[in-house]
């Protein structure tokens, strides 16, 4: 296996106890490779979002361990976790990605500004040119379309050159055309800029932009696929459902 950007080892997440016990994650072990675009798929309640949140350090495991690069997350304090998120991890959410009181550029620079860093301006300019919103940098989120907002979110995730970017249904709120644009940018961020992305999605079309798909079912890994295309993915999902 090539070097991993993030790993989960025997990761379990249990909600409730006794009869009402729900095993959202049930002993998942997985590594997300550096410089690759990985998609996590699975039906509702399969634990795909929980896996992502736990690996990203947003949520904690009941048992098992997760690591970003060489850093084990379980032992980190809230402050260390925050710093790790700011410097090593990028996020793209389905909606409500941007702070309404800040303009596009300020939103992109936010993780860097929070850490009091200047950032690599050459890199940031490259990112901004890649998302193609140079003429919109002074605009507030309310003045941008949904697709533009998500492109700003992608840029923000890229700005600090994180070890890994997690995306949670980044195109869930977009129509297929603008969604395709956003996914295209994510693809280029991996292929051209050498970034690492882990994306949770239930959309076969979105998943087909990735290098590798991991399928989850009932909190366990049900299989995986490399070099996906939409037909292959849909076919596999049909099997998974049976």
């Amino acid at each position: 296996m090539t070097q991993a950007a993030a790993t989960a080892t025997a990761a379990s997440k249990i909600y409730g106890s006794g009869d009402s016990e729900v095993r959202a994650l049930d002993g998942v072990t997985i590594a997300f490779e550096k410089g690759k675009f990985t998609a996590i798929m699975g039906p509702s309640g399969s634990g795909k979002s929980t896996l992502m949140h736990c690996v990203a350090g947003l949520d904690s495991l009941t048992s098992g361990s997760v690591a970003i690069g060489d850093t084990q997350l379980e032992t980190l304090s809230d402050k260390e976790l925050t710093t790790l998120r700011r410097e090593q991890v990028g996020f793209i959410f389905q909606a409500f990605n941007l702070i309404p009181t800040l303009n596009a550029l300020e939103n992109i620079m936010l993780p860097l500004s929070l850490g009091g860093q200047e950032g690599d301006m050459q890199w940031i300019n490259t990112v901004i040119d890649t998302i193609g919103l140079r003429d919109r940098l002074e605009h507030r989120p309310s003045e941008l379309s949904g697709g533009q907002q998500q492109r700003v979110a992608v840029a923000r995730a890229l700005a600090s050159k994180p070890s890994v970017i997690f995306a949670d249904e980044p195109t869930g709120n977009l129509d297929s055309k603008t969604g395709g644009e956003v996914l295209g940018f994510m693809r280029r961020a991996v292929s051209d800029l050498g970034q690492t992305i882990v994306m949770v999605t239930h959309d076969a079309n979105a998943a087909s932009y990735s290098d590798r798909i991991v399928f989850l079912k009932d909190g366990k890994i049900a299989g995986e696929m490399t070099e996906p295309n939409p037909e292959k993915v849909l076919d596999y999902l049909k099997h998974l459902g049976e």
Partner: protein, 844 residues
Amino acid sequence: MFSLSLKMSLARKGRLILTSLAIILGTGFLSGTFIFSDTLSRTFDRLFTDVFRDVDAYVRSTNFIEVPFGGEQRAGTPIEALDSVLAVPGVKDATGDIQAFARIIGKDGTPLGSDNGPPTFGGIASASVAGLWNIEDGRLPNGPSEMVMDRSSAEKGDFVVGDTVRVNAQSGSREFTLVGIANYGDISSPGGATFALFDQQTASEFLLKPGFVDAFLIQGDGTMTQEELATAVNAALNPTLKLETLTGAQIAEETKDQIGAVVGFLSTFLTIFSLIALGIGCFVIYNVFSITTAQRLRENALMRAIGASRKQVTTTVIVEALIIGVLGSILGFVVGIGLSRGLSALLAAFGVDIPTSGLAIRGPRIATTIIVGTLVTLFSAVFPALRAGRVPPLAAMRDTAFERIGSRKFRFVIGAVIAVIGVAAHVAAAAGVNDWLLGVGVVCVFAAVIIYGPLIAKPVALMLGAPLARRSVTGAMARQNAARNPRRTAGTVAPVLIGVALVTAFSAFAASVRSEIRSVIGDQFGGDYAISAPQNGFGGLPIALSDEVAALPEVQQATGLGFGTVELDGEGRFVTVINPATASGLVDLNMVQGDQSKLSANGVVVSNNRATTEGWNLGDTLEMKFVDGTVKDLVIEGTFIPNGFFGSYVINREAFAGTTNSLFDSIIYVVMKDGVSEEDARAALGAVSEQRGLGTLQSREEFIDAQADQINQILGLIYGLLALSIVIAVVGIVITLLLSVFERRREIGLLRAVGMTRSQVRFTVVGESVITSMFGAVVGVVLGIGEGLALIGTLADDGIAAFSLPLGSTIVILILAFIIGVIAAVYPARRATRVDIMQAISTT
């Protein structure tokens, strides 16, 4: 629909409590004032009913003068008439009564009771059953060297029967042997006053005038009604003595009324401040409803979408207001009970022993509190409720709550119209058209600023936040958050703004008065030392003291200055009383005509304003009537330019010769001989004044400072009462921040997810809070200084010409506002840092 609204409101207990806080505090102050003044008047009612229990008839002089600003001074009653009263059939017993100034000097040489505390009386203790005092220990005083004092003073001064006690009174300072300790009715001392009691003859010559008492207390033998007895007594009185007879019930009633007037004034004063607090509470309630309806936008839109009418949506908000109003007012009344106890405890701490038999809690007061509180809440909720009803059903699809400012143009025009009216009223008031225009002006200008609030909120918040924004991205976010909802920010700021503006205006006014007093006293007072008596009570320094001081070997010159009440030109007036023989160089009137040092015993010097208005000329005569009915014609012997200290009339102290009008000096000005050291001067002057419990000895500088600082006492009281309004304003900021944090929890969650630390989150909330409170403080200070200027401009005719900026207190206010901003943010910031990232960013 009503029950549904009820259910929806009760489901949000946290918000109910938050909103109620403002109304609880506002109505609490109001009901506290009610209960306190009710308790006070009931206490005095009972006390005087008790005290005059055995008095069936009351004889007093018909000569009296109405004192300016209320009250009266009545002439003495000649003791010789007592025999004719005792001879009336049906009179069982009768005795003279005196209530005059006397101060008991403690064993350590300091007077009992503070200068600013309750009055210190001298009176008569007699064996008569009609007397007011009961001897508890020892016996009645007999002869010119014996006295009795009230039990409370004896305890305070650690006196026992047999001690030698020094007492100061109008006629001077004397030592007595304490032969007894007495109770007033059933209590040790009414209202914390001190009493030195003597036999009638001693009391008359020491406290009043030989041969006179204030009144006769008469007890009947039970064969006649009080009315019959009073009529019989009155018929027996020599008509040339100008006496009248009241029944015991009448005098008790009259005394109660006099106290009632004082209590009434106090309660009016307190009520004004509780109404200010309620008004400020209005803004907080309005703001909370505005925010919560904005946050419930989707909920309300959903209701509309599934078929609720506008009216129904509006009703839910009104019902919530009704619940909050009623609940808050009831709780407010309970808080008021505590507050009134606090007020009583405060007075007790100042030595006012109010014998309360429980608090007076009256049904109508409870009703008033609840009705006022509920109406205020409903009134504050009307506009937010209407806005809630106007929500389009489509808004259910929108994401965040943003409040829109209504028509900016409309707001701008209305604000401008009101501002113009306000300024015009100020100008008219300053021009002297009518003083109530000042009130109209103040209200209009405040209203205009409040109306403009949402328009200026954004630019002002951005401007004030600029230094923060330059520091860090968190500062920039704090600044943007303070500016993002201008209406909300303006609503939060309004209470702070009003409170700060009032404090600043009072400070500006007080600072100006203070500097005016300083220059006036500095100008007219040329001495080295001053011996002064408190000018807020009655009594003062015996007039013989100034001559005694002047005779000291270290003293070059000394003169006494007093103030009296006489009826002059048909009206009760204060007159300044000087000793022209010694005044030159120490008390200098700015004479226009005539010579101050030649003021005769039958002369008067008037201010040139009065002379011009009345058309008086030198040589004209003014009729002056003294309290005892003596009438003298005074010749106008000069005019002077008034300076706010001497009033409009100055007479010679010799004018009082031969009357029973009590006369004291308020201040004695002293110039020392050359070469007398400060130490020697203080020792010599102190020996005759302070060490005998007479007045306070101060150097020129100390005296001027003390006079100028008198205004601080009033200011302190006003600050204290405004403090509650400030508390409500702070509660307003806390509530707004809490609601904003709740509303932005997803945003905060996102920020935490992308790497904002908890302390950065905290900083954002604190920054927003500080910007908001500073906004209120800065605009409030500007408004307050403007109003202070207007106030002084309007009152300039009364002798206050100079405006002086209260720089010190302005800086203190701004610093306080900063601290308040930080404190108000503590709890909301903690809530913000505890936002759960997972919950906040989950899309469901």
